[in-house]
């Protein structure tokens, strides 16, 4: 989520920032998926169930973004950023996991598929991974255990970002030369982040992310509105 405001500040174009962010997301979540696959946490049945609606949503979102002015996209992104930053200051919502949750399959599949499409659309339109919405859909709505929901979401984010990035690329809204430093930088940053996360309190980390997100979103709004 931090990537879109930073790229908007650099490029001055929310469309290019979103397109480049979607392409970078594939690499970042691809490497995360590899880790989760090794640990066998990714549930491919759930991924395929939600994948089609998420990809379709991402395509619709990416096409629709082409008709939305940059300023409007920036304001929409700032709204989502404000929501996400607010959730960072609230205690995390978790459903108590029972033994039956581990054994039974996902519940409320049609609602999950519908919400997956909505998450995909937001992701394709605003260039965000969608994990912040995807994991609650799988965990709170479909009853998927948290660890499995996070791992499956990682695969789904990369899968939905791909088609979105292709549409932005075809429109000329992906800065190809920016992708390598961003992807390599984020992978190195993720290693450093994992080292910090083991030492810092989760509450402080969430609060720091919320503040950083609010700051970068405000900077982005300032850049596109002035």
């Amino acid at each position: 989520m931090i990537l879109v405001p930073i790229l908007t500040i650099i490029t001055g174009s929310p469309h290019q920032a979103i397109g480049t962010s979607l392409a970078a997301i594939i690499g970042v979540h691809g490497s995360a998926t590899l880790f989760h696959l090794r640990e066998a946490w990714v549930d491919m049945k759930i991924a395929f169930l939600l994948g089609s609606s998420m990809v379709l949503g991402a395509i619709i979102g990416a096409i629709a973004a082409g008709f939305v002015p940059g300023k409007a996209l920036g304001i929409m992104f700032a709204g989502v950023a404000l929501y996400v930053a607010t959730t960072m200051f609230l205690p995390a919502r978790r459903k108590p996991e029972t033994q039956s949750d581990m054994l039974t399959g996902p519940k409320r599949k049609p609602l999950g598929v519908l919400l997956g499409g909505f998450v995909g659309m937001i992701s394709g339109m605003l260039g965000i991974g969608g994990g912040i919405m995807n994991v609650p859909v799988m965990h709170l709505v479909m009853g998927v255990p948290t660890k499995r929901a996070i791992a499956t979401s990682s695969f789904l984010i990369g899968t939905a970002a791909g088609p979105g990035a292709i549409i932005y690329l075809a429109r000329g809204d992906v800065l190809i030369q920016t992708i390598p430093p961003v992807v390599i930088g984020i992978i190195i940053g993720a290693l450093a982040g994992a080292w910090i996360a083991r030492r810092a309190r989760p509450r402080w980390l969430r609060a720091a992310f919320g503040i950083l997100l609010l700051y970068t979103a405000a900077q982005m709004l300032w850049k596109i509105l002035t």
């Binding site: 392409a23 594939i26 690499g27 691809g30 490497s31 998926t33 590899l34 696959l37 090794r38 491919m44 049945k45 991924a47 395929f48 169930l49 994948g51 089609s52 990809v55 379709l56 991402a58 395509i59 990416a62 096409i63 695969f155 990369g158 899968t159 970002a161 791909g162 088609p163 979105g164 990035a165 292709i166 549409i167 690329l169 075809a170 429109r171 992906v174 190809i176 030369q177 992708i179 390598p180 430093p181 992807v183 390599i184 992978i187």
Partner: protein
Amino acid sequence: MTVAMGATLGLSVALMAIGMAWHPVLFWGVATLLALPAIGVISAMFGFARVGKWRYFFLGLLLLGFMCLSAILGFARP
């Protein structure tokens, strides 16, 4: 699936790293990166076909179809 996705991602990062110095390679690095989700889906589909879970195999096929649709909608516009 891990091997297929790992090899694709590794190749993509290597091509992009070379592409930072020699620009013609950069496009292929990004193209390989964009192919990564499809590689993941195809390898998972093979896994489902091997154990005879055809319902999920066809769900994967549908997912792959939507991915192709994005390329058609993106590049084949008038």
